[in-house]
Amino acid sequence: MHQFLQQIFSGLAAGAVYASLALALVMIYRATDLVNFAQGEMAMFSTYIAWTLVNAGLPFWAAFVITLAASFVGGMLIERIVIRPVENAPILTAVVVTIGLLLIFNATAGWIYSYTLQEFPSPFPDRTLFGALMTTRDVGVIAVTLVMLVALFCFFRFTATGLAMRAAAQNPDSARLCGVRVGRMLALGWGFAAAIGAVAGIMVAPILFLDPNMMGGVLLYAFTGALLGGITSPVGAVIGGLIVGVTENLVGTYLIASQLKLTVALLLIIIVLVFRPNGLFGTAVVRRV
């Protein structure tokens, strides 16, 4: 029983890591109708920026805020410079461009910072809670992810900019006719997503340790979680991420040898998707023919 609880809590902790990156993926998808494969690497790169600032002597929260701002601006610039030229190209072209970004960020981080493992400071103390079921850092990740979720939800539902962003993504031409600056919305979307990614990276680095390949595996799970929850739903992304984390742990412990853990976990998730092809909380898109 204790083992079972341990695995569940461990799974929730890992799931929160996936959920935080999944939020960034959902943000970009809602804003620009595109899956950004470079999200993980952008988050990793932001984390290195924070690491450089902290190493240079800045206090943690100062580095945090500066990194967030830099990532926001960076995200917007990437949208303007890198993604904008292929906006009207076939969608696959844009996907390939994000894959190119993934390679560029990864290689550049490796070149500048080398591949040696680095430590990253955490704002949370290193203690265990609930009788060793979880650490304060894990709880920190969950808390921060939930805060971002609420912020994102409110943004899309209750603010004018959020509404404009949704309109720009769904029907850019009509949105333009309504006075929405579509280009600006797209750039904003990328900026927010990059900032969310930066937060995810900074929260996660103390747990996973910082190296250029830190986010590689996380991206796959985040992607899975986002789709399981529904790629258009922030709530779905978080719940999806948590489910992926817990499922993976339980599968690896009780169902099959850990050598096939990933395979079986993905299989189970795909089976769920077969019954709900738009994810648990996603909405089916109905197109007029």
Binding site: Y29, D33, L34, V35, V82, P85, V86, E87, N88, A89, P90, I91, L92, T93, V95, V96, V97, I99, G100, L101, L102, L103, I104, N106, A107, T108, G110, W111, P172, L220, F223, T224, L227, I231, A257, Q259, L260, L262, T263, L266, L267, I270, L273, V274, P277, N278, G279, V285, V289
Partner: protein, 353 residues
Amino acid sequence: MAETFPVDGSRAKLALERHSGAGIAVWRWAGTAALIAVAVVLPFTLSNYHVFQLTQVMIYAIAVLGLNILTGYNGQISLGHGGFFAAGAYTAAILMHRYGVPYWATLLPAALVCFALGVLFGLPALRFEGPYLALVTLAMAFAMPQLLKYFDNWTGGKQGLVLTKPMPPPGLGIDRDRWLYLFVLVVLLVAIRVAANLLNGRTGRAFVAIRDHPIAAAAMGINTARYKTLAFGTSTLFTGVAGALAAIVIGFVAPESFTLFLSLSFLIGSAVGGIATIGGAIVGGFFIEFVPNFANDISDAAPWAIYGLTMLLFMYVMPRGVVGTLGPWLGHAIPSLDRRAAPPNDTNVKGGL
């Protein structure tokens, strides 16, 4: 959002009308024959190493051709073709290693196994579109190395399987590298021929119709489920054969040879060459094989950054890929390989992807 392009290829048609029908046919045959002649003679003018590299190019071209069939002509994205490549490679490797099957006889079983796998995959894939389909195929790319490592008494596990490289038939007087080059060249030409016939015929038109207007296609009586599954199976058949060839030519298979990056490379090669073209597969093969080396020469500090930048450059300058962008423009002067294939509408790959 995306630019439209006349589905009936009217622009190319107008260009063609300037020439007589017989004139076109002669040019096409002469051009193709010349290309094949060059390809046959080429290995005898180059060093063994370059011959080996060109053989790799052709293998990747066959694999990318498979992906083009599925993603370009039928609109179903796949991020998992590396997994099918591995399936073909290991089928050939196990047959050669365990059962002593001669190398040339492994191609057919590899093709059949991968076709079956593709159909099995294609059936549940019918439910998914866009990013969801990407995830399902991605799962294949990740699951394959795990399964290969798990069933290690068949696959040699993490150690891999070392295969004896085939010797050329005696009396021909050429060495092993050149023999393998010619062998792969023959398979490539057959693959192109088969693909062209398939894609220019009823099946190809059904694929394209399903890609561009699935509801209209169904309304016209096309069995979308059957054709989509067929597209999957055919696509994986091609990629699986490429995998078998790779096992034969490299002489070694291991799970590490078939990572996610391989699947992404196929996608990149496909996009750079031209997703809904046949000739683009060859361009893609060249890209996958040579650009990493070229990137390494430019910068050995961050070669993959250069690779990424090169990709971006290609995508900006030629968003439909090399053959996709240049093909229609050259169509009136030099008949391109995919002249008769339907030009992509807006390469309608669904949803967010």
